[in-house]
Every structure is written in C-alpha cells, then in structure tokens.
C-alpha cells in the first residue's frame, strides 16, 4: 500500500546557523493511510518542526515531502492542523469558527451550517455553539479546534501537542474524545506529544525522536485494541522501554 505521508531525507537548518546542528537531519518516515502515528521526544528534538513541514507551514531545507503522492508546497489542501493553543478566532462563536473551516473547502452557507451542527454534536458541544472561545473552558476550546480542523474534511490531521496546555484529567478525557471522533471519521493522524502515556493510549505507532541533530531514534508498533487500559501490562513494559530511550 502506498504511504499517505512520505518523507525522504528531510533536513531542516535555519539560515545563518551553519555552525549548529540542524534541527532535523535526514529524516525518512512513512505513514500509512488511516494510521495514527505519534512523534515523541524531548523539547528541541524538532518534532514540531517536522509536523510543520508536513503541514506546509515550514519549508524543509532539503529532502522530499509528499502527502497523498503529491509534493507539499504549502498549507491547506486536505491537511487539517490542530495547534497547542486553540488558535480559534476569538471574534467568532464556536459554531462560526467551525463554519469558517467548512466554507474554506467551498461549502455554501447552508451546507457549512449543517456541517457545523454535525461536528458540534460529534465533539458534544451542541449546547455551546453560540459561545465565544473565551467563554469556553480549555478542553472545550480544543474540541472546537478539532471540529474546525475536521470541517475542512482533511484526509490528514496534524496535531501539535493539542492537549499540552490542559490539566491531567481533562487531558485524559480529551484523549478518549479524540479516539471516539477518530473512530467515526477515520483520518491519517500525525500527533506530536511529549507525554509517553498519551502516545501509548492513542497510537498505532510511536516514533521516538532525539535531538542535536533532530532525528528518529526508534519506532514502536502498538497492536493493542482501543480503548486501551492504562494498567495494561504490555503497555507498561513499553512505557518503561520508551522512558529509558528518552532520558
């Protein structure tokens, strides 16, 4: 099967910084269609840069980046992104934010409204459609952000530490929520996190990254069915392994 994301020899160095190690050096990575892949690593390992390169928000210095067989030349076009900060437009209500995403892919007003209704229901915020982002809790804001990304109907969902700013309990709820949403709208997901547990609960595959220069240290495939149990012995063993790898 042809991979959905293909990275070949991707290197990123910032201009005028030849003396320092590149942020990313010679990355090869394939992600299959509908696969959920998590990039894990310490701060500074370039995982967010790698995600931004796939999103088309940052350009690689060299190497090849393909999504769905086509070279990535910029953002948009079937690549939904969820950021660590919700990045919702504060002047639009939750519903209008989602409609903004829907109309960006060419839906007319009525269709966009209908899509927003469905997505609000999917992220269980039907009652909160008329609230502004600042009137919502952090978890709700991130659910709206996910709904807005889904409104683009992307084949690929890129998530950059989307639950990083949330408290522990909300974070766990959001992971469950994401898996539920993902099971009803299958997408290829590339997910960045620094939480080992989060990666274990969510992914089909975990890609461990190292820093200086940023690169891939190891990959682990997880075949456990979802929803996963936090006290699963196999996951606990893998947690130990990842922990040793990362520190």
């Amino acid at each position: 099967m042809r991979p959905w994301i293909e990275l070949r020899g991707v290197t990123k160095r910032y201009d005028g910084d030849a003396a320092r190690a590149p942020v990313l050096l010679d990355i090869d990575l394939n992600v299959a269609e509908n696969e959920f892949v998590t990039l894990v690593g310490r701060s500074g390992c370039g995982k967010t840069t790698l995600l931004n390169i796939v999103a088309g928000l940052v350009e690689a210095s060299s190497g090849e980046v393909k999504v769905d067989g086509a070279r990535v030349t910029g953002p948009g076009r079937g690549k939904g992104v969820v950021f660590q900060q919700h990045a919702l437009f504060p002047w639009l209500t939750a519903r209008r934010n989602i409609e903004f995403g829907a109309s960006s892919r060419g839906l007319d007003a009525a269709a966009a409204r209908n899509e927003a209704d469905q997505l609000l229901a999917l992220v269980r915020l039907s009652e909160f459609g008329e609230k502004y982002p600042n009137q919502l809790s952090g978890g709700m804001q991130q659910r709206v952000a996910i709904a807005r990304a889904l409104a683009l109907d992307p084949q690929l969902l890129l998530m950059d530490e989307p639950f990083g700013a949330l408290d522990e309990i909300t974070r766990i709820e959001m992971q469950e929520e994401l898996l539920r949403v993902w099971s009803s709208r299958r997408k290829t997901v590339l997910f960045v996190t620094h939480s080992i547990t989060e990666a274990l609960m969510l992914s089909d595959r975990i890609v461990v990254m190292r820093a200086n220069p940023g690169g891939i240290a190891a990959e682990y495939r997880i075949d456990r069915p979802r929803p996963r149990n936090r006290s699963d012995a196999a996951l606990a063993a893998l947690h130990e392994q990842l922990w040793t790898q990362l520190r």
């Binding site: 999103a55 928000l57 910029g74 953002p75 948009g76 076009r77 690549k79 939904g80 992104v81 950021f83 900060q85 990045a87 919702l88 437009f89 504060p90 002047w91 639009l92 903004f100 995403g101 960006s104 892919r105 502004y132 982002p133 600042n134 009137q135 919502l136 809790s137 807005r148 990304a149 683009l152």
Partner: protein, 264 residues
C-alpha cells in the same frame, strides 16, 4: 454605618460635597482669595450666567459646547479615515514600517500646538485650521496604534487561517482586520483624548465660540469662575464622548468585553 461602607459611589459623592462645603467656607472666611479660587457658589452663578445670557454676551454655554464638539469630531474623524488605511498598509509591510518609523516618531514628537503659526498661514484663522490641528494630533496617535494593531496580530491565528487555505485579501478582511479591531478601538480612544488636549489651544485663534475660546476670553476679563466652568464642561464632554466610544466597542466587539466576568 455599615450600609454606607458598602456603597463606594455614595462615599465618593459625600466626599465631594464635603470638599465643596469646605471650599465655600474657606472663601467666606477669607482663607482663599476669591479671584484665585472662586467658591462653588460663585462658579454656580457663572454657570447660570453662561446658560442664560452667555459669555461673551449672547454666546451661551450650549453654543460653546456644540462648536467644540463639532470641531473635535471633525478633526478626529478626518484623522481616523486617513490614519487607519495608511496604518493597515504599513503594519503589513515590514519594509515600509522600518522606512516610515523615523518620520512617524518625529511627527508625533512635534507638539501639535507648536504648529499653530503654520496652521494659520496654511489654513487661515477660520474653522479649517482648528480642525486640521486636531486632526494632526489625532492622526499620528491613531497611525502608530493602527500599525501596532496589525503587527501584533497573534501569528498563530494567521497560521491557522493558512491551514484553511485562507490567504491574500480574504486573510486581511476576515482574519487580520477583526483580530486588530480591539487595538484599533483602543487607539481611537487615545486619539480622542489627544483631540481634547489640542482643542483649547486650537480655539485660541480667531474665535469667541467654543469652550477653549471661552476659557481664553474669560482670562482676558479676569473671570476665573468662567474659566473653571469651561474647564469642567470640557472634562464632562470628554467623559461623554469616551463613553460613546466604549459603547461602540461593546456593540462592534461583543466578544471582547467583560472577558474576565464571563470566563469560567
């Protein structure tokens, strides 16, 4: 007493009343010279005189106030419709921003009233030079605020828009403009304040109408009581117009008001 302690507005009012009473008393006892500190009763009489017969004779306080408001609003609006479009362009063009920064800093630093002689030469001693002076003062403040408003739009919002294929003109009207709106309105409020600072000086020339002219004319007749009435009237107008802008902000930006109170 506890009921009084819970009502700060009432406390404030009572304090002012007490202060006025003390002031009145101090004048009556001869501790304050009436010419330097006209007592509240004297100021009230001056207000009555201004409301009934006017000062100078025939020009009542309402006329002074209306003329002043008209001048401030004309200058302010002229500044808005020129500064906002120019600022939006400069704010989005880093090169232009760097190129214009010294000129803008220079022009801002020139005290508006020092341009009075030039304004008379260019625009005469009629309405135009007063309006232009106010516009000048408001313009630079609004320009700097507009540039800052555009420059400091949260970059993550622009990134988010780009992931939704929003670019060019649509990015400008649907993302940058609304994101900059709160700072634009804050800038407008500061600019209006500048208009009030300029008006008294601008009304020093060639007119007997307007609160600034009233204050100057009163000075020529040693009428400190009337000067004070003019001063207070200006302050009240300032409060009124600023409240108007605040109202406009609530109507235009419902999402931006009272965030602290609605945040859960």
């Amino acid at each position: 007493m506890s009921a009084l302690r819970d009502r700060p507005a009432l406390q404030g009012a009572m304090f002012i009343v007490a202060l006025f009473a003390l002031w009145e008393l101090a004048s009556a006892l001869g501790w304050l010279r009436v010419f330097q500190f006209p007592p509240p009763s004297r100021i009230a009489e001056a207000l009555w005189e201004l409301a009934v017969s006017g000062f100078p004779e025939g020009v009542r306080i309402w006329t002074h106030a209306a003329v002043t408001i008209a001048r401030i609003l004309q200058g302010f609006l002229l500044a808005m419709i020129t500064a906002i479009p120019i600022g939006l362009v400069i704010g989005r063009a880093p090169l232009l921003d760097a190129a214009t920064l010294p000129i803008i800093t220079f022009a801002r630093s020139v005290a508006t009233l020092s341009l009075l002689p030039l304004a008379i030469v260019w625009f005469g001693i009629g309405e135009l030079s007063k309006v232009m002076l106010i516009a000048y003062g408001c313009f630079w403040v609004m320009l700097t605020n507009t540039i800052a408003a555009v420059k400091y739009v949260d970059p993550v919002l622009i990134r988010a828009a780009r992931t939704m294929d929003v670019d060019g003109a649509r990015l400008f009207t649907q993302v940058i403009l609304p994101a900059a709106a709160p700072r634009l309105l804050a800038g407008a409020r500061v600019a209006l304040g500048v208009g009030f600072m300029v008006i008294v000086g601008a009304e020093m020339i060639g007119t007997i109408r307007g609160l600034g002219a009233l204050i100057m004319e009163a000075r020529n007749f040693y009428r400190t009581d009337i000067s004070i009435v003019g001063m207070v009237a200006l302050g009240l107008l300032g409060i009124g117009l600023t409240a108007g802008l605040a109202w406009l902000e609530r109507v235009l930006l419902p999402w931006n008001t009272g965030l602290a109170s609605v945040r859960r």
